[in-house]
Amino acid sequence: EEQALIIREKLADLYESEQQWSKAAQMLSGIDLDSGMRAVDDNFKLSKCIQIARLYLEDDDAVNAEAFINKASFLVSNSQNEVLNLQYKVCYARILDMKRKFLEAALRYYDISQIEKRQIGDEEIDENALEQALSAAVTCTILAGAGPQRSRVLATLYKDERCSKLKIYPILQKVYLERILRKPEIDAFAEELRPHQKASLPDKFTVLDRAMIEHNLLSASKLYTNIRFDELGTLLGIDPQKAEKIASKMIYEDRMRGSIDQVEAVIHFEDDTEELQQWDHQISGLCQALNDILDGMAKKGL
């Protein structure tokens, strides 16, 4: 087995050098990590699982990568090896990203971006890598389904000073402020995306399209008390029937409050708060404005 292991590792190295990632991964996956014949160090098992997962990810094979990262999950909690732990985190985040679990991926990327150490084992962590992780977190958050959970993550990212230096910051700002995104902005954002983030879905929309439509629908709900479907379709740039379908899905999933009147072909956006609470909120805003004026007067000695 020792000799077979060495041969497999060497062949995998050769495949890797020729960028045949999946073949390299398959070669390594033939190593018997659970052999009863010899003692296999947990760290060794962990490093192999992670290495195989990373190789599959190079070929965008999230399914096989996930199988090996799941094996690694059982070992990583007992591992003291910081390099392997970091590699595991990055790998896991990328798998979630590829499987379009964007919100979970965003949280993991964000966690990685907050690493304070600049040297882990023999690996140097440079600022670019952290910036890339932060940018990936922002991208994944924007692509995630619009709703309260995403809003919380958006708030965290928007308030992080580092994000203001990212190229992607203007779109983050608009998404956080729940503003409607226009085609030129969406096209500019699309240029930064990876293929799986622009992949087509069964309903003929792409992942990006779906994210942007849902975001714009939520933005519209902040601007309108009610809107006709044909107008909504024009605003979103899609068929009115599709707009209705996406709206109903979001309402059903409790990601947007509202009701649909199919007879009148209108969607009513209910506010999150009852009318009286909304009134309270307005009064509170008025009191705040009054305070600001009084402060202004005091500053000017009036």
């Binding site: 601007l223 009610n226 107008e231 024009t234 600001d292």
Partner: protein
Amino acid sequence: MDIEQKQAEIIDQFVKRASTCKGEALAPIVLEATSNPSLFAFSEILAVPSVAELDGTSNSVYLDVLRLFAHGTWADYKCITGRIPELVPDQVLKLKQLTVLTLAETNKVLPYDSLMQELDVTNVRELEDFLINECMYAGIVRGKLDQLKRCFEVQFAAGRDLRPGQLGNMMLTLSNWLNTSENLLVSIQEKIKWADKMGEFEKKHRKEVEERVEEVKKSLS
């Protein structure tokens, strides 16, 4: 407050520039000020002596432009188009934004029809895009669009420069607020007293009833 904070620095810059210029040299400053996307107030610039001195001179048109932007609307501009230089697109946009603020002064609910008329907009989509992108996203108004009722419900609108004679109305409104608030507080105070009194009465009555019950029980036993 946000709008005022944002434009405070811009106002200072234009006031400083205007203070150092006279006559025709003020023309580009007026154009820049009335085209600036973040500036919605012009009283301070109007108050600059060199600007006020334009009155009655061959350059008084620039003063008229500033006054239009300080107090006027798009409809006012259409009445005086021959008398002032033609507005550039950025100025047209700003004047229309200011028109919305003026309309919001008198009504909380702005019908689409009157907005379209005031702003020379021919269709609802164009109107809503204008209100969303140029008014709400610019931070000068907040509100909700109602397509069924065809109206814009204003929740907040930034303040424009005061017109002559407007101060009196403002003081009257504040005075009314004060009176209503005081009356309401008195009313609440009376209600509290009444509630306390009723509570005391209730307690006393309950005690009397309990004592009576005890008496009857004793006499029976």
